[in-house]
């Protein structure tokens, strides 16, 4: 699986390409947790080019979501292909992930007016 990282001021976008299965999910989790450890815990996962996902991949996404939440971050998904969307519906994961039709919609979540730091 290829992971392309785009860093923005307030968040990062990880664009995934390929299969999200047992072979690729461990490295994805490591990658994301490295960003979280650096304080980059506002994350968009763009799944537009994920052409296959299975239960291992889904389990990894759930596990990543929990870690990001514990770090007071936010993980959102965007651009799910219809097959991936279908499997999110079947597994009811659409109830626990924030899913957006486009990356621009997902970015809106993080592009709130900048907060004042006391």
């Amino acid at each position: 699986m290829e992971i392309r990282v785009t860093e923005h001021v307030d968040f990062i976008t990880l664009s995934l390409k390929g299969r999200l299965d047992i072979a690729s999910s461990a490295s994805l989790k490591d990658d994301i947790l490295r960003h979280v450890a650096r304080g980059q815990s506002k994350i968009i996962l763009n799944l537009a080019q994920v052409d296959f996902i299975n239960s291992s991949g889904l389990g990894t996404l759930v596990s990543i979501l929990k870690e990001v939440r514990l770090a007071k971050g936010r993980l959102v998904l965007s651009n799910l292909a219809s097959y991936v969307q279908e499997i999110f519906e079947i597994t009811q994961l659409s109830n626990i992930f924030e899913i957006f039709a486009s990356e621009a919609d997902a970015q809106d979540v993080f592009l709130q007016p900048s907060a004042r730091v006391v």
Binding site: R19, D21, I22, D51, F52, I53, N54, S55, S56, L58, G59, V62, K66, R69, L70, K72, Y83, I87, I90, T91, Q92, L93, N95, I96, A115, R116, V117, V118
Partner: protein, 634 residues
């Protein structure tokens, strides 16, 4: 019920009936009476001894919006009967701009009370046409009229009133608080020197009015003066000053709040949440994210119960950020709270994923309210702590279907192998949502045990379970499901074969291709259609060769599917296979062929398409013209 104007006399007679219901009918009839005297008669009905009749008359006057009504109604402003006066005032306000001229006249009535009422109503209407009349009232001999005029000018909000108000401030000392309030509402910076002077006044009322007014100025220029009040040692004044700074921060710049005393800011924000309008509440709730502390938690907990959904969600988001430091207060609030508040608190906890609350949540697993039990299951799933599996498994057999469904979803999110038996049992639940949740959870768990059980289910006595098993194995998608799915391609039930071939198509395992191709000759057309899709998914651009044989399938819809499939593959070598279908006997095949030819991006198709442009079927012509346009634009 409409009445002709010729009946007016009868209606007026009915208005004097001893029966309130007859008088009410008369009022109702006057609503539709076009006679000019009807308005005067309606106005007199606000004197009616019966409250229902009076209110009906008022409602009718408002609905009719007659330009004559305000002049009649203004006469009641001098009525000694407070009920009549108030009702007339209410109708005049609701008639709005229609009342302005009559009220401007009444504002110069010899009776000072009447003048005051008229000015009050003009202020409430807020129509700028009343400005000059109210400015004249600012010079009235009566103090009450002057105070009302100042208030009304504030409500009008016109900057034209600033200079007259400033001048009156010097001459009419009794009206200073009202004048300051009005200047604050107008928000014109020209008033600042006067407000600065006012905050140094010996009169506390004037000082507080000035502080309040500065909060409305929408300018950072007030900031140093408000900050100056923070060192005066008067706590109430500090609070008022910070309240005003918060309003300026809201309207101009957050930085206004830098370096302020935390406790007082929290207090002011808390007050804003409790008493402000929706916008102020939302601002204050968002601002509290930066002023974390025990004092903020209580008010956020209160806001979780706000009837406005947006306010409640904002409070939940802010509170979730403070969930760690506020955990004791949140846990305390979970006990004995109303169901709605518990659910909101559980959502707050769920959004943090904080396992600190697990014991507090599981204590609600047997709550009498089913929405709470459902939320408990949902939040436990989001927190994902393996220690709570037993509670979730208990909720998975709850008497209420949607509680069971929530518990099963949660078991899936946690990935509970221990719950496999419960999940398989739930596949036979009478409620579809519960069965769906169980299936989703089993797909998510995806373990060897689930795969083994689904493999067995391929031969389940219930054909529906066989189909679900074939689908589920596909969604699980692990390498170990390929073999049972290939086996299922030979299943006696065609729906199982169909699900198996679809699952293999999604598996992206090219080794399955040779097994799938066998189903191109399956006896069931639905299976052959799904096989075409699976071959395209796995075989990519080269799969066109396998598909072409299906162009001669006995089933029309399979041939249609194959033609569309060749279009979606987009391999130009399929061109010669598609051309003959432009002259097929079947309309739908001709349409499909034209569309697929367009997708091949091969201009060699143009002459054949042009020959078909006069097809007898307009749908075919539309598809052909579209294809020609597309190819010619290449």
């Amino acid at each position: 019920m409409a009445q002709e104007s010729g009946n007016l006399e009868q209606i007026l007679l009915a208005l004097t009936s001893s029966e309130p219901s007859e008088r009410a009918d008369a009022v109702e009839n006057l609503r539709y009476c076009n006679d000019p005297s009807a308005v005067a008669a309606l106005v007199t009905a606000i004197e009616d001894p019966d409250k229902g009749v009076r209110e009906l008359a008022a409602e009718t006057l408002i609905a009719r919006r007659s330009p004559d009504a305000p002049a009649y109604l203004c006469q009641y402003l001098s009525s000694p009967d407070i009920t009549q006066r108030n009702l007339a005032s209410e109708v005049l306000i609701k008639l709005g701009p229609l009342s302005v001229d009559a009220l401007c006249d009444t504002a110069h009535d010899p009776d000072h009370d009447v003048r005051k009422f008229a000015v009050d109503i003009l202020g409430a209407i807020g129509d700028p046409r009343a400005l000059h009349s109210i400015l004249m009232s600012l010079e009235d001999q009566n103090q009450n009229v002057v105070c009302s005029a100042a208030e009304a000018l504030g409500m009008l909000g016109s900057s034209e009133a600033v200079e007259p108000l400033l001048a009156t401030f010097e001459t009419r000392v009794f009206a200073r608080p009202q004048i300051i309030d009005a200047l604050g509402q107008i928000g014109d910076i020209r008033a600042l020197p006067l407000l600065v002077e006012a905050i140094h006044s010996d009169d506390h009322i004037v000082v507080y009015s000035a502080v309040e007014a500065m909060g409305n100025m929408r300018s950072r220029r007030v900031e140093p003066y408000l900050r100056e009040l923070l060192v005066r040692g008067d706590e109430a004044l500090q609070e008022a000053a910070i309240g005003s700074l918060i309003r300026v921060a809201h309207s101009v710049d957050h930085a206004v709040l830098d370096n302020l005393p935390v406790a007082i800011v929290q207090l002011c924000l808390n007050k804003a949440i409790r008493s402000g309008d929706k916008k102020t509440k939302l601002f204050a709730i968002a601002e509290l994210r930066h002023w974390e502390g025990p004092a903020t938690v209580s008010v956020l907990l209160e806001a979780l119960n706000d009837p406005d959904e947006e306010v409640m969600i904002a409070a939940r988001e802010t509170l979730s950020l403070q969930a760690t430091s506020a955990s004791d207060r949140i846990a305390e609030a979970l006990v004995d709270a109303p169901a709605r508040l518990i659910c909101n608190l559980l959502d707050t906890i769920g959004s943090t994923g904080n396992s600190r609350f697990v014991q507090d949540i599981v204590s609600l697993a047997d709550h009498h309210d089913e929405t709470v039990r459902e939320k408990v299951a949902f939040v436990l799933g989001k927190i994902g702590d393996q220690t709570i599996l037993d509670y979730l498994m208990a909720l998975a057999v709850d008497p209420v279907g949607h509680v069971r469904s929530a518990a099963l979803k949660a078991l899936g999110w946690i990935g509970a192998d221990k719950a496999i038996n419960s999940l398989f049992t739930a596949l036979d639940d009478p409620f579809p949502d519960v069965r769906q949740a169980a299936l989703g959870a089993l797909v998510l768990s995806g373990g060897d045990d689930a795969i083994r059980r689904f493999r067995l289910d391929l031969n389940h006595a219930d054909p529906h379970r066989q189909i679900i098993a074939a689908q589920a194995l596909g969604w699980i998608g692990e390498a170990s499901v390929i073999e049972p799915l290939i086996e299922a391609l030979r299943h006696p039930e065609w729906e199982v074969r169909k699900s198996a071939v679809e699952s293999l198509g999604r598996s992206a395992d090219v080794s399955a291709l040779q097994h799938i191709k066998v189903l191109l000759t399956d006896e069931e057309p639905q299976v052959r259609k799904s096989t075409i899709d699976a071959i395209i998914a796995l075989g990519g651009g080269d799969s066109w060769k396998d598909i072409t044989c299906m162009l001669e399938d006995e089933d029309l819809w399979v041939r249609f599917h194959a033609i569309n499939g060749l279009g979606s593959i987009g391999n130009r070598e399929a061109l010669e296979e598609l051309i003959p279908f432009l002259t097929s006997e079947s309309d739908i095949l001709r349409v499909a062929a034209a569309k697929s030819l367009a997708r091949l991006h091969d201009k060699r198709a143009l002459p054949f398409l042009k020959e078909t442009v006069n097809d007898r079927n307009p749908d075919v012509v539309g598809a052909v013209v579209g294809a020609i346009d597309r190819l010619e634009s290449l």
